[in-house]
Assembly symmetry: C2
Homo-oligomer: 189 residues x 2
DNA sequence: AAAGCATTGTACCAATCGGTAAACAATTTA
DNA sequence: TAAATTGTTTACCGATTGGTACAATGCTTT
């Protein structure tokens, strides 16, 4: 047999795109076997828990990415403005300039929300918290920082939906650049 | 037989909540029959096209609501500031202070997106257009009005996702009030 | 080369999927 | 009151769902 060397990591990356495109309920096992090229045997070998474990693995992978590439940088960077720059450029490339949806948001707005509520909540909570702390270090008052962080984290999700809905990925970049400007310019308001 | 007098209008309202809660793929016919109390026969009597026609009817209903309660007011109000006030308070109550999702957004981020792309696109396009025009009438420069409208329409979607994800409906109101302030205060920037 | 584990294809399962058919009851129209 | 019309129930359809079982194959280690 072919032994196509599907590393678990690669499988997770493929699964992520499938869930993004079709949602949790829309990603049937037959669709998954087709798109990944792996039979059910292989899939259930990697993820004995089935579809739910696949989605969990994908969410954990995404969470880890944001943790190292965004949250940690927000917390540890010496210059808060640098951290903000890094965050926005990282987000822009992660979401492929508005062509890719956020799986956390996709699942949050689906019937599968309850099943993954913990992961979703942790992702948004931490992002908001770390961003707010960075804004404080950049000179914003505590209350303004919290509110602005909320606006930015939500705004990114909305910008993704807008871009997809309008069929205009550019909308994402336009909104993001405004959010970024608000973080960098007038934090002392 | 019972003839429970389910007006098509009432059925659509129930369907809307079901699609909102479970997404398009997650709303199975058995779930729909259970939640509406109508058997398949009745359902297919009202919507011969099945699930797709049900979703289309719901989207058309939502579109009509926003058209009369938001878009038309943005276009026709004498005082643009009043129109903006009306829009934000209408949106706040329509989305039940952040406890209700936007079905347009829900479907836009699901695998069913392609099937309803036209309706979704029309909804967001018109909202953005009418809001931008109102902002111009309120004194904002053309380019700023367009960008701000985009930010607001997207921001509302993001605020809904954030509220649901954090399990904190209040997040919706907090973001909305900031967006509103930006529309009313500094449009001439 | 033998053994043992990791991986894979295939066949199968009960349950559910969206949808159809048609007999039937309630209501409206004539 | 009789005939259409409208609404509802029920049983059924083939297809697909997520999941299991297992034999067969590849690779690695000895």
């Amino acid at each position: 047999m072919s032994r196509v060397v599907a590393e678990r990591k690669d499988v997770i990356a493929m699964l992520a795109e499938i869930f993004r495109e079709h949602g949790y309920d829309g990603a049937s096992l037959s669709l998954i076997t087709e798109k990944t090229g792996l039979g059910k045997g292989s899939l259930y070998h990697f993820f004995p828990g089935g579809k739910e474990e696949m989605a969990e693995a994908v969410l954990a992978d995404i969470d880890a990415w944001f943790r190292t590439h965004v949250f940690d940088i927000l917390r540890n960077a010496e210059d808060p403005d640098d951290a903000l720059e890094t965050m926005f450029s990282g987000v822009d490339s992660y979401f492929r300039q508005g062509r890719r949806l956020c799986l956390m948001g996709v699942i949050a707005t689906s019937g599968a929300h309850d099943r993954f509520a913990r992961e979703i909540n942790g992702y948004f909570t931490d992002w908001r918290t770390d961003l707010a702390a960075t804004l404080v270090r950049a000179g914003a008052p505590e209350t303004e920082a919290t509110a602005l962080a909320e606006e930015v984290v939500g705004g990114i999700q909305g910008a993704l939906i807008l871009a997809r809905s309008l069929g205009d990925p550019g909308a994402f970049g336009r909104v993001i650049s405004r959010l970024k400007a608000r973080c960098l310019n007038a934090p002392a308001a």
